[in-house]
Each structure stands twice: as C-alpha cells, then as structure tokens.
Amino acid sequence: MPAGRTPVLITQLIYGLGGLVLFLIGIWSFLVHEPLLRKLIALNVMGAGVFHVLIAVAYRGLETIPDPVPHALVLTGIVVAVSATALALTLGLRLGHGDD
C-alpha cells in the first residue's frame, strides 16, 4: 500500500462503515415495524446508507478529484428515491382512507 494512502483509507472506512450501519438499521426497521410510514422511512434510511457507501468509494483524498461516476449515480439515486417515496406515500394515503 503506498504511503499517504492510509488517511484516505481511514476516511473511506469510517464513512463507508457508517453507511453500512445505516443500511442495516434500515433493514432492521423495515422488518420489525408494522406501519407503512415507518417502513418507508426505513427504506429511505437504507438508501441513504447505500449513498454513503458509494460516496466513500468515490473519495480519493483531498488532492485528487473524487470519482465522478459514483457521484452521478448517487444524484440519480436520490431523485429516484424521492419520487418512489412520493408514489408510495400517495398509495398508502389512498389505502388508509377506504371511505374516499
């Protein structure tokens, strides 16, 4: 491993493992909690964890420009997550209001 790689690696590990923990908390919450809203929040937490891992993989130190491809993927993922959440919330709303 080249010298100077270690601080970058530590940063990547802290950030990436943080994302991993978020992902696991999300799965846990998704499996354990009954209400739809909590499941949706759990899915979003899982997504946030995945984004953290991608950003950690893209990081290449302060002197080097980060890998733009994972950054673009995260940007895409955020928008897809928001729109999917909006659709799921609307469906949940309609299901919860059977009298409408």
Binding site: L20, I27, D67, L75, T76
Partner: protein, 231 residues
C-alpha cells in the same frame, strides 16, 4: 415468539453486515484496476462542461439521466392516477406568509444560479429542480392549494418537459448523424444547458405536483380544509 424472531433478525443482519463490511474492505484495499474515474476525468474537456459530475450525468451517462426523468414522470403519473388532489391547507398566518414571500423568490433565484453553475462547479438540474420543488411545497403549506403550479394543461407540459426536450435533442442529433445522445463538441455546452433547463423545470414541477398527492383540481373548485364535509 417475538423475542426469538427479533434475535433471528439481529443474527441475520449481523451476518449480512460482516459480509458487506468484508466486501467494502476488499473494494477499498484491493488493486485499483482500470477504474472509470481516470477515463471519465480525462475526457471531461470533450463534454462541453467542466464539472465532472455534470459531464457524467448529461454526457457519458445521458441515457441514465433521460430514463431517470422518465422515472420522475412515471411517479407523477402514478400519483395522479390514484385520484384527485387533497384539499389545500388553510391560509397561513402573518409570519409564515411573510416568510414565504421572502423565501420563495430566493429559492427561485438560487435555482437559476444552481442551474447555471452546474456547468463548472457542484450544482445542476437536480439541485435546481429540488429548490423549485421546495418552493412549491412551501407555497402549498402556506395555503396556496395549487402549490404555485400552473393550471393542469400547462402542468402536464411542465411535468413532461424534461423527457420531451431530452428525447427531441437526442432524435435531432441522430437525424444529423451524430448518434442518439452523442453531443458534438461545438454545441455540447448549449445542448446540455437547454436540456438541463428543461429538466430543472420538469423536476421542480414534478416534485411540487406529487406533493399534492393526486391530480390537481381546476383552480375554481379547489376546496379548503375549512370545516364542512370534504367533497
């Protein structure tokens, strides 16, 4: 029974966590191989923009972005197909109204800045669109039933604008012989700017529109949550 189930879940998650941590360690410490980063960064000058992320989004991976706009459009259509929009909120009090009157123009201004700056620094259509969407949500919360969106026929155009302009640009390029979504260097900057402007408007309109949780009503018969039975 619950305790056993929860224990099983925790054990399974611990296993998944260790496996994924091992994969992450392998990715971060393993031989770098031919990563896309160097290729992408080396070819940024050929894309018409100098921000690497924008060049990946709008040029190298333009398909991805086009289909992502289609996902947004599909989500909006899905929300609209579930029924009519929920009634709006009561008109806001003095303070929230004052805040809205200040913040919404600032949000629109920042969206324009974000859109422009995306060519050479962090920013771009998605950030700008998110700001516009936030402005719509704020308007809705302060008692504007339409969330500041135009009437339905125009809103339909706005929500579809991103996919429309992106596809048209790609088809025109194809007719000119450049290939679907292959931007010639001379006009790439302007094509990307036009596409990003359309995408910004579409994303902003879509995000604000899905917040209504249904197909918007014509302005005249939009009810308020002000007592009485809901229509």
């Amino acid at each position: 029974m619950m305790a056993v189930r929860n224990l099983l879940i925790v054990a399974a998650l611990a296993g998944i966590g260790v496996a994924l941590a091992w994969v992450l360690w392998g990715i971060l410490t393993g031989p770098a191989g031919d990563r896309l980063a160097d290729l992408a960064l080396a070819r940024v000058p050929e894309t018409g923009v100098s921000n690497p992320v924008t060049s990946v989004l709008l040029n190298f991976r333009a398909y991805d972005t086009l289909l992502e706009l289609a996902v947004l459009l599909a989500a909006a259509l899905g929300v609209w197909s579930t029924g009519k929009a929920l009634p709006g909120f009561l008109p806001a009090g003095e303070v929230l109204r004052g805040l809205t009157a200040t913040v919404v123009p600032l949000l629109v201004l920042s969206a324009g800045y974000m859109l422009w700056v995306g060519a050479h620094a962090p920013g771009g259509a998605f950030q700008a669109g998110a700001l516009l969407g936030a402005a719509g949500v704020l308007l809705r919360l302060s008692g504007q039933p339409s969330a500041g969106l135009p009437a339905l026929p125009w809103l339909r155009v706005g929500v579809g604008l991103g996919v429309l302009v992106f596809t048209l640009a790609a088809l025109v390029l194809m007719a000119m012989g450049a290939g679907f979504l292959t931007f010639p260097l001379g006009i790439a900057k302007w094509l990307i700017l036009v596409i990003e402007t359309a995408a910004t408007l579409a994303i902003g309109a879509t995000l604000a529109a899905v917040y209504l949780a249904g197909e918007p009503l014509p302005a005249s018969d939009a009810p308020c949550r002000q007592g009485g039975p809901r229509s």
